[in-house]
Symmetry: C2
Subunit: 366 residues, 2 copies
């Protein structure tokens, strides 16, 4: 199923090859949807920040890193509680090598970046345990859909990623609310995936919604009850663009929930979509992205075959032990950079650039 | 200087032809920068709204019209005190014929549209009479510059317009503050241009700034004292994009002030810029766009040769008497639609589409 080259293909081989043929040598734009959810502040849920309260800053800081090569809302860069730096370092390196344009969409953030960003009517997300996670998913989906249609007129294709701490828990929420077999299949930025905690948190939210008399009649209801504000924005954006151009959804298991939303709203665009992620996600023993995606649609998964064991730096080599894995579109942007380069960008040249940026950002001696 | 065809060229003929050659047959994106200023609420200053207080709604309503073919923040469409409809009807018709993508940038609005829009750090503008018109032009210029650089990677070229009631007064302010010979040369949406009122208002602002000890040391200081929040956003956007692609600045005499800001910040990009406007502006006896532009740089002016005397509707025919004239990028977007169409879009087909949209929007019998 997976061959040892720059891009690993998972799932239906011929659909994947067909998709690759459509985008090879083409120039995409990267759109990153950012969101905050109070869910990320539940202790033990998210490692996308040095501590739970800090996760509010991670999406904004990631976007600043991608625009300026440094953060403004925080000193340094976002790190996990163990001090491992944000995967946005991978994204920025791939964007730089490919000279790919970047646009930010505010799904709903408490802390906003000092960069240009699109507003699409979103607001920050609530704690899923309340059963009131997202305020107005329909409006956000519709505005984002329109934005996707407009962006699709400007580029060959689109790469849509996300930065949303706590997002694998909300993804689990939406998938469980919709009846997917998702327990134990969502990934985590922690090395030890807190599956039980996530499941309990989501169940609490579903119970609370039921007690309030709230029924889940469609995908946007699932988002409203136990999702996060990134989801309707990303789903609308992807669906609007995929009406006319191919789209790579760049992310890990969080994108499986976005895919489920798209399937519920605009199933006709699924044929124009591929998932782009990292090897660390598809090889993760504690999650199962391939199963989650397959439950929505036969959409190809393209994983960048980055191997950090040959990095010069401990902080990057440690990715090989299963920390972080993915985020800020790292995998999908890498896939797009490689596919667009006619062979000039490889996993090797990408790792060199990542090492270089890592050293510069952390002010290390080479 | 000007020939009777679809596009009238003013100024240096060979520079204009060179610019036209660069963009002919190419596909641009339209970016519209919107802003509000308290200056528009001074009675007699702006006809971009049924009454002064209403001008806060005009930019948002214009953007909704361009996205949805109808407004959301108001019933109907923006009109002048005489009931003449917004020039955004021209823009929407040209966008529709050319299938041109549109993006909105919020320079600083009090009322925001129910459409996607970019934030670039702007805030609504104050009354120029206070000498404190715009809060943070430098930050807005820089974010917009970055946005322009990113947008330039996605399209052949950019058309940048604006919707800012009161904007000819703030344009006069910036030009006078910078020592331009601008008195009596700014256009107006009123049929009788209130030159004296505008000059007095601006002088009051310059006097107030001086009394506060504020000196004007550069173009962004002029914007801060007597400009409006559209200016730093539009100037940054144009300058960032024009580093690598051609840009049509779509607007009337307001764009002369934006051009002056660009000249002060990034003079090296002026060679990649043309002004796009309407015949009503360049033929206006009560203003002098050609002189205002020439004082900044030898930048070609391309004016769409729309003639509404053959429209089916009184509300459009009246444009020929000198009302409204320009706005929401009407002229420049029309120029771009014609230049990109290889002859399929003409002033005649554009007028047919405008008549059709006018009838639909105002719910008239054909």
């Amino acid at each position: 199923m997976c061959a040892p080259k720059d891009i690993i293909i998972c799932g239906n081989q011929s659909k994947a090859e067909e998709f690759v043929k459509k985008v090879q040598g083409k120039k995409p734009a990267f759109v990153c949807v950012i969101g905050n959810t109070e869910t990320a502040k539940i202790p033990g849920i998210s490692a996308a920040g040095a501590n739970p309260e800090f996760t509010d800053y991670t999406p904004a800081a990631d976007m600043e890193l991608l625009h300026y090569g440094k953060c403004k809302v925080i000193d340094g860069v976002p790190v996990t509680p163990d001090g491992i730096p944000t995967p946005a370092i991978i994204t920025m390196s791939a964007l730089e090598l490919a000279e790919m344009p970047i646009f930010v969409v505010n799904g709903g953030c408490r802390v906003l970046p000092f960069t240009p960003y699109f507003e699409v009517g979103g607001t920050p997300g609530g704690d899923v345990r309340t059963g009131k996670a997202v305020e107005n998913p329909k409006e956000v989906f519709e505005e984002s859909f329109l934005l996707g249609k407009n962006l699709a007129k400007t580029v060959d294709y689109l790469v849509v990623g996300e930065s949303t701490p706590g997002g694998t828990t909300t993804a689990l929420g939406v998938l469980l609310a919709l009846g997917y077999d998702a327990e134990g299949k969502e990934s985590s930025s922690f090395p030890q995936n807190p599956h039980d905690l996530k499941i309990n948190v989501v169940r609490e939210g579903l119970t609370a919604a039921k007690a309030d008399g709230k029924q889940i009649r469609g995908v946007l209801d699932a988002v409203a009850v136990v999702g996060d504000p990134m989801m309707p924005a990303a789903a609308g954006l992807v669906a609007g663009a995929a009406l006319s151009v191919p789209v790579i959804m760049a992310g890990g298991t969080q994108m499986a929930a976005v895919l489920a939303v798209i399937k519920g709203m605009k199933p006709e665009v699924l044929k124009n979509i591929a998932l782009g992620t990292t090897r660390w996600i598809i090889e993760d023993k504690q999650s199962d992205m391939i199963s989650l995606v397959a439950q929505s649609a036969e959409v190809p998964i393209l994983a960048v075959n980055l191997d950090f064991s040959e990095s010069k730096y401990d902080g990057l080599r440690i990715y090989e032990t299963g920390l972080v894995k993915e985020g800020a579109g790292a995998g999908g942007v890498s896939v797009a950079a490689i596919l667009g380069s006619n062979g000039t960008i490889t996993c090797r040249s990408l790792l060199e650039k990542i090492d270089e940026n890592y050293a510069r950002i952390l002010d290390l001696e080479e």
